[in-house]
């Protein structure tokens, strides 16, 4: 990483693609994803780590991208909601969210999808309590969480089913 005037050049991988960008050291990863890389799927809800709308995966870890500086992304592998669908095929979580009406306004949805993905990678067969505990860092004001929990359970079953095949 090197500096150009006050800006820093960062190299990283975002949704399996190599990217390079210039950013100021005060910019958050959230800001850079949205404004510089134009990946606007990740949302700002509070900008201080309390709502989870900006959730992304960084090297497989679930992170509030508003609480991470963009310069910290050097050499990291970042996954955002735009990377969930592969080659035009929706991720089972995305399919489940549509089928279960697990979204209303859709603002918290990208963050909850990334958070759920992280959960299912750790616990392929979560209980209702596992899901509620894990998603407690993602606020939703519209749905009351009911359909979201059902969608995550359905997606976990689908994923396990496809793993068995």
């Amino acid at each position: 990483m090197y500096k150009i005037d006050s800006k820093v050049r960062v190299s990283a991988k975002v949704n399996s693609e190599h990217v390079q960008f210039l950013c100021e050291s005060r910019q958050s990863l959230l800001e850079v994803l949205r404004d510089t890389l134009q990946l606007t799927g990740t949302k700002e809800g509070c900008n201080d780590g309390n709502c989870g709308a900006c959730s992304v995966l960084v090297n497989g870890e679930l992170i509030n991208s508003c609480c991470m500086f963009a310069v910290e992304a050097e050499e990291c592998e970042i996954e955002t909601v735009e990377g969930l669908a592969l080659h035009g095929k929706l991720h089972p979580l995305q399919v489940a969210f549509i089928e279960e009406n697990a979204l209303q306004c859709g603002m918290c949805t990208p963050g909850i999808l990334m958070s759920s993905k992280a959960l299912l990678e750790r616990k392929p067969n979560p209980t209702e309590t596992d899901i509620r505990e894990w998603l407690a860092g993602n606020l939703c004001r519209c749905t009351g969480y009911d359909r979201i929990v059902v969608a995550v359970m359905n997606a976990s079953e689908k994923l396990q089913g496809s793993r068995r095949e």
């Binding site: 509070c46 709502c51 306004c105 209702e128 606020l139 519209c142 009911d146 359909r147």
Partner: protein, 758 residues
Amino acid sequence: MSKLKPRPPFRVVGSAPKRADALEKVTGRAQFSDDFYIPRMLHGKTLRSPHAHAIIKSIDVTRALSLPGVHAVITGADFPEPSVKRLRLGEAGYVDVQDMADNCIAKSKVFYDGHVIAAVAAENPHIAEEGVDLIDIEYEILTPVMDVKSAMADGAPVIHEDFTPGAFRAKTEKVLPNAGGLLLETGNITTAFSDCDIIVEREYTTETVHQGYIESHITTVQWDMNGHINIWTSSQGHFQIRDQVAVILNVPMNKITVTPLEIGGGFGGKVSTYLDPLAAMLSKKTGRAVKMAMSRNEALRATGPSSGTWSKVKIGAKSDGRIIAADLECAYEAGAFPGGPIGPGIMTATSRYKIPNLRLKGFDVIVNKPKIMPYRAPGGVQSNFPVESLVDELAEKLGRDPMELRVQNAMQSGDRLIMGLPCPEFDGKALLSKIKSHPHYKAPLEKENQGRGMAYAFYPHIGMQSDAKLTVNADGTVQVCTGSCDLSGTRTSLAMQAAEILGINLQNISCSIGATDAIGYTFMACGSRTTYSTGIAVITAAKKILSEMSGRAALIWDTGSDNIEFNEGEFSCRDNPKKSFTFKELASRLDETGGSLSASATVSPNDIGVQVAGHLVDVEVDIETGKLEILRYTAFQDAGKAVHPELVRGQMQGAAVQGIGWALNEEYFYNEKGQLANATLLDYRMPTSLDVPFIDTVILETPNPSHPFGVRGVGEVSIVPPVAAIANAIYNAVGVRLTSLPMKPGKILAEIKKLKEH
């Protein structure tokens, strides 16, 4: 009962197709306000008062203007006199334009912590924030008034010298500082109470709570060189935003176009403009587009929450269970400017019961908090909580089952509401019976510190004006365009209503939302009106399409239009049934029979509709810590006709969880200086997935005669019952009656201790 004609079974309405906008939302491609940008746009940030009540003595923007990267700074002095005093909204009320303009940016005085004083446009948001820090303001700090009782007390500091109390005040009432009033009376409560065998009476308080939408307020505005203002923003009503901006900036309404973007939650909090006039003025000064976004801190400090309240309620009954008198006095915070929800709050306090002697008194109290805005069934929670709690208490004292007492006194269609209004068509008793016969009602509770409670609520839904335009394409597909913003799937439920009338598949219909220059005037997406009122507009336009297409078929078959029948998607000749066209076939012939086909409809349904809900909740209270766990929750609501039952369920569940938050943990904390101390989503504690169980739902369908399919509005009422249902459940669990919100562990524990000491 129902005045609806019998109809064939629904083909599309009542099914649960995938939402048309869901794919864009799960892939992160839907364009919300902050996702929109214009090349070379600047970014605006606001300077907000840290004082709750102060006079602005001076503003010096010199230092801010000389910061490299800052392009313009504005203050209240940059704004003209509004062009009108009031924006009337029919039966939905009115907006005092000067108040609204002053709320957007202060003139000589600030009225709450977070009140905008100035705004800066700069190359990026960081520089704009730095510019804000370089503005120098001198204040004369005044004493803030932070709760309704202090505001109404003798000698309270008067916040606005020039406000007028409301229309329904009795002239003999003392004029209170800072308070407008409303008094509705019927019968004679003095003699009625002396006739009562049982009377229950308590005082209640509730705290200020926020709608808590996950998307904050964001707008992008470009003031063109030819004087046209383009606004791209999410709101609940882009026509109202246009009108508000027009009158605040004193600009003709046709010189403003508002293009709606996807909205990340509203709940009533996005019906009023905040940033648009500021961004417009910055755009005018800089010659560039300007985007402004409120931080979460700013949204909590400065955008309309719902009223905290104080109330005193007294209800009396005869020993046979007839509730014959109710006296309710409820002071609602209005926030920094008058116009809180006392109207609907007071009117819905007891409307679901037939009580012949009533005195309902409301106060709209100005306090140094942000201007109160609607929050899902405005005013409803605050008046329902005391009444439903006291009805339970009355039942206990009368030795009656609380459900049976409610059924005995339930208002039904054909009765009269307060003010003599004929009660609109609904069936409260059917809802209450449904609750009673549900397995949840009798399911055994396992532990001593568990309890079950219920509450019942009734809230009107409005009609108001909606515009819809349908176009039939040559390939038989149809476009529907309306003026209603889509908060949670109404584009789909509107397309379903069109599909039902036109007899075609839902996949062949797309539904969009027109900008203010593309569709006729449409009232906000609020008051649970979209599926109902805009649905009627869509249906009316669809019927016009069918009528026109019948005319085209008649032309082709060389017969009269009255010889054409339309049945299940096919046009046929009455006297020669072999002659028929499917919708698609006829659409392909439009070109040769007169050209393409569009139809529009403007409707303004003026029936008062009723939303009604009852919720049942089981709770467990930890008597060591006061912590409450919700074990089981069932929400019952009458949807009239559920166009898309899953979307209806979603409304019930979402509203119920908002009500749970209101009941248990949400409140605004102000410090002694009147500054909001918990302006983050950590400390303004909304429910998480871990705080609530599955919310079971039961949908009843008592058709609403003023909609062709029987649709009732459904969006709001389910926020109302949770608070009292939980309060009643706590009493049944551990024997304490909470009379102040939120019912947090410390309060529950304190009441348990008090009970033990007696």
